[in-house]
Symmetry: C3
């Protein structure tokens, strides 16, 4: 955790640099701090994965609509204020990234943050160790 | 919201028109009405995204099994009756779409509806505005 | 149910046989038994779907990081012990599969199990019937 998964209509790949969006979102996550000025997300825990849909149907289908769904799953137990701070920040990144398209084509964006409610959670691998003794999230 | 995400085995792309399934599901969502005859889903909020799996393993792997998972995430607060109405309708669409395959090949389908429990929710973009003053969902 | 969805960075496709990982995970699921020695998962209900991300951003982006997120959604009502047993078993499979890569490249793995909280659930198709009278899950 956290995992930010971006599902979107494939028409955007020709009009927008979604790899750059992923990097911008990850960079924002790396700099967000909580009420006591600690990083909300450990460096090794920031993961943004984006998937254009192979097939899609949006609204009434009468135009070349585009759509982006950003879903962030965070570890449990952060305050509402932290959730809002993260949400506002990622919203700002998405809005800035898509500003040219929002001015020129039909495009919907939804950003939602979920708290995980997992019954089992294992972190494996060597990424966290590489970034030192940050608290996992 | 709502977002209907369809995850499926890639063997179906050669045998079924999944883009047409997406459109049929979206069309059904556009016409479902609640207890007081209002649309359950606003036009600009209907999004169906379908993803064939790059790799998969189904059941015991001894046959060319196919599988489709349809997951609809709706906004909170609709009645059980609305959830059932939506589920029954989408189930009927999926069953009709896959009827020829269900008669001729191994195929599993699961349809689940979740209520979102998001802690942050932002709707951006210009799709809702295009469809007028419908209540967002 | 259950559905095990594997989201991962696309750099792994050149270095690891993810189709084989799917099969290993499914095989493990087929053999896990509960406290009273019944199979936890019915044969026809085992589905593993894996998706390399088209675009991604991991941690600080300064190296060719790889990441795998395994998310299992199970039916409600199994004991904590069963969840732990399933989680430990799938963790062992993932660790064994990725052992060579974990020794040679930056790689993060997260495995999480969720209990579904669906408000509507339909199982269709002919897969369960093929495997006889196992209890659906």
């Amino acid at each position: 955790m956290p995992h930010l998964v971006v599902l979107y209509t494939a028409n955007l790949d020709a009009e927008s640099d979604i790899a750059a969006l992923c990097r911008s979102l990850a960079d924002a996550m790396l700099t967000i701090r909580d009420e006591v000025d600690r990083p909300v997300f450990p460096t090794g825990g920031v993961r943004v994965l984006a998937y254009p849909a192979t097939h899609s149907a949006i609204a009434d289908g009468r135009d070349d609509y585009a759509f982006v769904y950003l879903n962030l799953r965070m570890g449990r137990g952060r305050s509402d204020a932290v959730h809002r701070r993260v949400g506002d920040r990622l919203t700002a990144v998405a809005n800035a990234h898509f500003a040219p398209l929002l001015a020129s084509r039909p495009l919907g964006l939804t950003l939602q943050i979920d708290e995980g409610s997992e019954t089992f959670d294992a972190k494996l691998g060597n990424l966290h160790a590489r970034f030192g003794a940050q608290r996992p999230c």
